[in-house]
Symmetry: C2
Subunit: 136 residues, 2 copies
């Protein structure tokens, strides 16, 4: 694997939860929704179909593992998965737990309002729960 550099905006807006085989798993610094992001550790990719076939399969595996764990931890109504990248071109996949009545439900989370930072101990607790659900 060649060097991997994380986009500065993605780095600023999120916190590293775990390093998986392909992706960095990161938590968005926005407590309005339980909102994770997977960033494949490959440079120069902006579309999922830019990845090598094996990496495409790994990304699917990791996205589904994370989505399933996130649903378990949060008890959410629906997991929303999205790869948009209209603003930040480095390939990243959002995995978000949605529940009836949450901000902008049933609309999308992207481009809606302003981020609401976590209370630090709550953020740490949530990250710990996620790591536990991923290892079980």
């Amino acid at each position: 694997m060649s060097g991997f550099g994380l986009d500065q905006r993605l780095a600023r807006d999120s916190e590293l939860v775990a390093t998986l085989d392909l992706c960095q798993l990161r938590l968005l610094k926005d407590s309005r929704w339980p909102w994770l992001m997977l960033v494949p550790q490959r440079d120069g990719m902006s579309e999922v179909f830019d990845l090598q076939p094996l990496d495409q399969a790994l990304l699917t595996f990791e996205t589904n593992m994370v989505g399933s764990a996130l649903k378990k931890v949060t008890g959410a109504t629906k997991i929303n998965v999205g790869a948009l990248g209209n603003i930040v071109r480095q390939l990243h996949v959002h995995v978000v737990a949605r529940s009836e009545g949450d901000p902008n439900w049933p609309g999308p989370i992207w481009g809606f309002g302003q981020a609401a930072p976590y209370e630090p101990s709550r953020q740490q607790e949530f990250m710990t729960q996620l790591v536990e659900a991923l290892s079980s």
Copy 2:
């Protein structure tokens, strides 16, 4: 495969383009963006991770094949892929061609404004171009 029934709202809002190994490929009746949808022909699924592992791999393959063809046909700046399902729970994956300056760019397409129907010959032409790009 057991019987497959397409959700009535998905059926109403879109047109069948092709039947792939796993999914129906459908075009949304909304000319504001080149907007496709993949619907796995499996009943009772609402999350990607509900699918059997082989179906998860097939869905990834078909999503990437369609995304790549859509980018080729449209020359779009960015392909947006999303599986939300907050309104219609039957599993479906959006694949949308986005270009700078299109409606709500760089925000998401979901929940934005009202659909603008295609001029019928334009819709037919676009579907033909897609099928050609998928077979090449």
